[in-house]
């Protein structure tokens, strides 16, 4: 129950507060907007005459206030003063409000009190008047009785005794009269006769009045006889209570005389002023009626009435007892003090009942007029409360409640505003700090970039010197030292490169190239990079690229390679056994057929070691959940290719607690990791950024002691789709001259493990060799012997199969050699350190199979096959040699224009290009270059110095491009340009900037002015190749 009460109270209080709030808002808005119109707050508090309109106005004001708030909040100072003003207004307003409430409520209470008093007073007055009227009527009835039975009958039938009895018995009819008496009119001439008749003399009354006697001493016989008068009004009949007045002359009493005279003149009941009654000596009034001898008309004149007067009947009213009797009948008589006054004489009111002394000094008094039927006399009833008005507890409580609530609200408001101000300050402070931190971060990045750059230069010197040192005559220890120093130096350089990358990424300066590249070649490269390490560890390394992945992609091969290298580097670091498996699919492929290579039963992996569920690594990718391209920015690609690349290993995995921070820069799984495995922990972070730049996502799944799989997606442009020459990537790969000789051959692959077989087949197929897969040697033998239609050129056996049963292997070799033309036998082995390697090293020894060392890559397989099958052996040279040779092949016969104002530079550049077989023409100014480079071009490329007097490289390039553009549009419009038409629709001469300082900004500028790239000025073969290959390779499209 109490809970319910509490709830109810709470609701009431809430409602009250709500009401006050609304009301206050309206008041505030009134104060706030002077032009807001005048509104009676009282009316609005009580609901008003037009509540809907009022609410609308209030809401309008509130919205205005909000508007103003939002305007003001902008500046702190303004809002500060604003809310301070509002707070003071609120406090003042609430104080005024509570005071007003107090006065309003107390006035209400006073009014109510007054009303109550008035109604009580009126009620008493009315009752008194009614009772009096009843008594008066009866007194009048007695007068009629007298006139009928005393004067109407002769002799009279009423004597004193009869009258007394009658009056006594009808006394209940006149509750207010203490007694009635009848006086007869006696003229002086009739006095003696009258006195004789009654046996007493007419006595005068005024003497008694003058010296009032005690009740007990009252003795009618002692009264003086009345002096001679014109007429007399002696009492002849009287009720027993007033029998002492018999024989008294009413006309001799001052009050009575007046009364009698007025009564007979007016014919109505007439009252005396209150006076002390005879004998009882109590305050009373006497009501007098005249009794006439005959019936008079209503409009009779006073004289006629006087003449017709026979006698007078009088009733005595004891006002005091009368009023008390009356008040006793009313319950709440003790609450008020009643005073009855005769106010006939305004200046000297005569108190008839009660006294003003014992009333409270409360000024509250109510006056009711009393009408006792005598127009001459005026009576008033004054009522007062006995007690003072009670303390206005309710009002005080309400108003103080309002003020408390208002102040509390003010306090809350104040606290809120303070808090807001504080939060604002904090926010400002934080944003300032944030800016500082960002600036510091930028500075840090710049510092890193600068420092890294600066370190790289001397490091190159150190490494170069070490290289030279290696070539000198050193003993073994010295060589070891140098090698160590070199390795450390290389590690340092790569670390610096990584830091530089990170800094570039952080400062947002890293931009991706968009050049055509061969994904498969890149992966082969990366694979060969790690092959040494993997063979050392005995870890199987494999790459599989889906057939649907286009052969040529456009993107940034360097960065892609960096990602792969990072991931594989990590994998190889943490993998001691099992395998590392890189797969590349199209996203659509994986999404559409969810079972592509994803069902990883423990036996169905590359090395047979269990791997974590690969699909989990991309489960969070956005690109999979939604249809269509995963990123809206893809529209920049004409033929986007979404690749999904997974690097799966069977290493020690990543501890669960390290999962969340795996992509955070400079964070490694544990502090011991860097000691055990080295590295900075920056690789994955860079990879993540790079993947992000490629519009892809990166994710991973890892189970400790099982392995990890990192998967990322990347978006490239399809490099093949622009021309129809490239269809099936399978055919395309055959264009590689080194693999042409294998085209059309058939190989038999013996491998019981489907995943591995798939990888091997993929690599062998890249050489154009048709591959059949059989699970074991017996099958293979049967297919060799049975299948005569297709000649099997080679049998490639997985080492595992070969080693499983050496007996059957030997048998197999023997059986194989029984065949007429025995297919060549190869063994795919994982590590060169295998004990059998020695006696298998050459496949030329009949019966002893050749060994192909994993990791498989097409060039490696090709080399092995060539060696074993006696094809001419191509020397596989060092990397630099390759690029140098490739450069030569690219540049041979090309006509190249070199523009430089510096003769020495010109000579050197020309010399370098000539060395690679290019046909070089040199000019030493931009203007000459322009004159030579007018479309249709006779040159294949142009190397342009940037800083030249008169016309710099940018300007020259701009003009060349302009000329090309106008020529192109001309040739497009005019259809008949003959020879030029067929050759190229769009002239675009590759222009490469030559610059000494390779700052990033310069690169951007180069591109902006229509240059295709830049080479740093002392030519480096590697860089030159990279740049030149970009457009010469794409040019082959139409050269071929």
């Amino acid at each position: 129950m109490s809970l319910v009460h509490v709830l109810g109270f709470g609701l009431k209080v809430g409602h009250l507060i709500w009401m006050i709030c609304w009301w206050f808002v309206s008041v505030i808005s009134m104060n706030w907007f002077g032009n807001g119109g005048i509104m009676d707050p009282k009316m609005s508090l009580l609901g008003g005459k037009d509540p809907i309109g009022w609410w609308e106005r209030v809401l309008g004001r509130i919205s205005l206030i909000h508007h103003h708030c939002s305007q003001y909040v902008g500046s702190k100072r303004v809002s500060n003063t604003w809310w301070r003003k509002l707070l003071y207004t609120w406090l003042v307003g609430s104080t005024i409000c509570s005071m007003w409430t107090f006065f309003y409520m107390s006035s209400q209470a006073a009014e109510k009190r007054k009303e109550t008093l008035t109604s009580m007073c009126d009620e008493r007055a009315r009752m008194l008047q009614d009772q009096f009227n009843v008594s008066m009527n009866h007194v009048q009835a007695i007068s009629i009785l007298i006139s009928t039975f005393h004067h109407g009958k002769n002799p009279s039938v009423i004597d004193q005794r009869t009258f007394a009895r009658y009056a006594e018995r009808t006394a209940f009819e006149r509750p207010l009269t203490s007694g009635v008496a009848y006086a007869v009119r006696v003229l002086h001439s009739e006095r003696e006769q009258f006195e004789k008749q009654h046996g007493w003399t007419i006595k005068r009354m005024d003497t008694i009045e003058q010296k009032p006697v005690h009740k007990d001493d009252y003795e009618p016989e002692n009264l003086e006889p009345s002096p001679i008068q014109e007429e007399y009004a002696p009492v002849i009949f009287a009720q027993d209570t007033v029998s002492h007045v018999v024989s008294l002359d009413m006309l001799s009493g001052k009050e009575d005389r007046e009364n009698v005279l007025r009564a007979r003149a007016s014919g109505k009941g007439v009252l005396t002023a209150p006076f002390r009654l005879l004998k009882t000596n109590r305050l009373g009034v006497i009501l007098t009626f005249a009794v006439y001898k005959m019936d008079l008309p209503a409009n009779a004149t006073p004289n006629e009435r006087i003449r017709a007067t026979a006698g007078y009947i009088g009733g005595v009213f004891h006002i005091q007892s009368l009023v008390e009797k009356l008040l006793q009948q009313l319950a709440s008589k003790q609450n008020i003090v009643v005073t009855v006054l005769d106010t006939t004489n305004q200046s000297y009111p005569i108190s008839m009942y009660g006294s003003s002394s014992n009333a409270s000094d409360d000024s509250l008094e109510d006056v009711s007029m009393l009408n006792f039927g005598d127009p001459f006399r005026k009576h008033e009833m004054h009522c007062r409360y006995k007690e003072r008005a009670p303390w206005p507890v309710l009002e005080i409580a309400t108003s103080s409640g309002i003020i408390v609530i208002a102040f509390l609200m003010g306090y809350i408001f104040h606290a809120t505003m303070n808090r807001i101000a504080k939060v604002e300050d904090d926010c400002r402070e934080m944003s300032r700090l944030k800016k500082e931190a960002e600036a510091a971060d930028v500075a840090k990045s710049q510092f890193l970039a600068t420092v890294s750059h600066e370190i790289r230069t001397p490091m190159n010197g150190v490494l170069g010197m070490l290289d030279i040192l290696m070539d000198t005559d050193l003993d073994v220890t010295q060589q070891d030292y140098v090698r160590t120093a070199q390795a450390s130096g290389k590690a340092l350089v790569s670390l610096i490169n990584e830091v530089l990358d990170q800094a570039k990424i952080e400062s947002g300066k890293l931009e991706l190239e968009a050049v055509q590249f061969d994904l498969r070649a890149i992966l082969d490269d990366v694979l060969s990079l790690f092959s040494g390490k993997s063979q050392e560890k005995g870890v199987e390394l494999a790459v599989y690229i889906s057939d649907r992945v286009p052969d040529k992609l456009i993107g940034d091969p360097g960065r892609f390679r960096q990602i792969i290298t990072n991931l594989m580097g990590n994998s190889i670091k943490f993998t001691e056994k099992g395998h590392i498996f890189v797969t590349v699919y199209l996203v659509e492929e994986v999404r559409d057929s969810s079972d592509v290579e994803t069902i990883s039963s423990p036996r169905n992996t590359l090395s047979g070691f269990p791997v974590p569920e690969r699909r989990l690594s991309w489960s969070k990718f956005r690109g999979f959940s939604q249809e269509g391209p995963p990123c809206p920015s893809l529209s920049s690609f004409s033929h986007p290719v979404n690749l999904i690349v997974s690097v799966e290993d069977t290493g020690e995995g990543i501890p669960l607690e390290a999962h969340p921070r795996i992509f955070t820069p400079f964070v490694q799984v544990g502090p011991s990791i860097s000691r055990t495995h080295g590295g900075t922990g920056i690789g994955l972070s860079i990879s993540k950024c790079l993947v992000g730049l490629m519009n892809g996502e990166i994710g991973f799944v890892s189970e400790p002691r099982v392995g990890s799989t990192f998967t990322f997606t990347a978006v490239f442009d399809n490099g093949c789709s622009s021309s129809g020459d490239y269809g099936d990537p399978q055919i395309n790969s055959q264009s590689n001259p080194s693999t042409l000789e294998f085209h059309g051959m058939t190989a038999l692959l013996v491998d019981p493990r489907p995943v591995r077989a798939k990888v091997s087949r993929y690599h062998i197929q890249r050489l154009g060799i048709h591959v059949e897969v059989v699970p074991d040697l017996n099958h293979s033998l049967s297919s060799v012997t049975n299948c005569k239609t297709t000649k099997i050129d080679m049998i490639i056996v997985e080492e595992e199969v070969w080693d499983k049963n050496s007996g059957s292997s030997a048998l197999f070799v023997n059986q194989l050699s029984d065949q007429g033309v025995a297919p060549k036998l190869f063994i795919l082995t994982n590590s060169i350190s295998s004990s059998r390697t020695g006696n298998r090293s050459s496949g030329k020894i009949q019966g002893c199979p050749a060994v192909i060392t994993k990791p498989l890559r097409s060039s490696m397989i090709a080399a092995s096959l060539q060696r074993a099958m006696g094809f001419r052996n191509r020397a596989i040279t060092r990397n630099g040699e390759i690029s140098r040779l490739a450069l030569r092949s690219l540049l041979r016969g090309r006509k190249i224009l070199v523009v430089d104002d510096n003769d020495v530079n010109l000579k050197v550049a020309a010399g370098a290009l000539k060395k690679y077989g290019a046909d070089v023409l040199c000019v030493n100014s931009g203007i000459k270059a322009i004159s030579l480079l007018k479309p249709p071009h006779h040159f294949d490329a142009c190397f342009m110095d940037i800083q030249m007097p008169v016309m710099d490289g940018f300007e020259a390039t701009k003009r060349i491009r302009a000329a090309e553009q106008s020529f192109n549009s001309e040739s497009q419009h005019g259809d008949g340009h003959g020879e030029a038409q067929g050759r190229a629709k769009n002239w675009h001469l590759p222009v490469l900037a030559m610059t000494a300082d390779v700052i990033h900004a310069t690169h951007e500028q180069c591109l902006r002015y229509g240059m295709d790239g830049y080479v740093s000025k002392p030519f480096e073969a590697e860089q030159l190749y990279r740049e030149v290959s970009r457009f010469f390779a794409s040019e082959t499209n139409w050269t071929l």
């Binding site: 510096n902 020495v904 530079n905 000579k907 050197v908 010399g911 000539k914 060395k915 000494a996 002392p1018």
Partner: protein, 152 residues
């Protein structure tokens, strides 16, 4: 002196030049560019460089000797010299050019003059060293040997 000895001497000499910072790897690259089809390439380039540089240095001393020094012109000259010295791998000369350009930017005539002096010294040093080098190379070629190439 037989060819082998001469080759060894040349290598040592070149290494010493490298060590002193007079030349850098670019010179080796230059040497690599020389082959049968272009047997005098290095000598040609170096001689071209000499004439070019002498002209430039003359221009520079003229320009700096004038009342109102045209720093723009000075700067372009130094830039030229810097480019060519970078091309043949004359590292110290190149570095001098770099600092020269810095002072040129600041329009510090005094420092520029100092730089010019230094540059002249560097140039003369380089010239003498390269002359010796070319001479030895010529001897080797005359003796029928091939010019050893520094490895970097």
């Amino acid at each position: 002196m037989d060819v082998g000895q001469m080759q060894k001497r040349l290598l040592d000499y070149m290494n010493s030049l490298l060590k002193e910072g007079i030349l850098d790897s670019q010179f080796a690259q230059l040497q690599q560019l020389q082959d049968e089809s272009n047997p005098d390439f290095v000598a040609e380039v170096v001689n071209l460089f000499f004439t070019d540089s002498e002209n430039l240095i003359n221009d520079l001393s003229n320009a700096l000797g004038q009342q109102n020094v045209d720093f723009k012109k000075v700067d372009s000259c130094v830039h030229q010299l810097k480019g060519s010295s970078a091309s043949i791998g004359a590292q110290r000369l190149k570095n001098t050019c770099i600092s020269f350009r810095k002072f040129c930017d600041e329009q510090n005539l005094q420092a520029c003059l100092m730089c010019l002096q230094e540059m002249q010294q560097e140039y003369l040093l380089l010239r003498s060293k390269l002359d010796v080098l070319l001479q030895v190379e010529k001897q080797i070629v005359a003796a029928g040997g091939s010019i050893p190439i520094m490895e970097f």
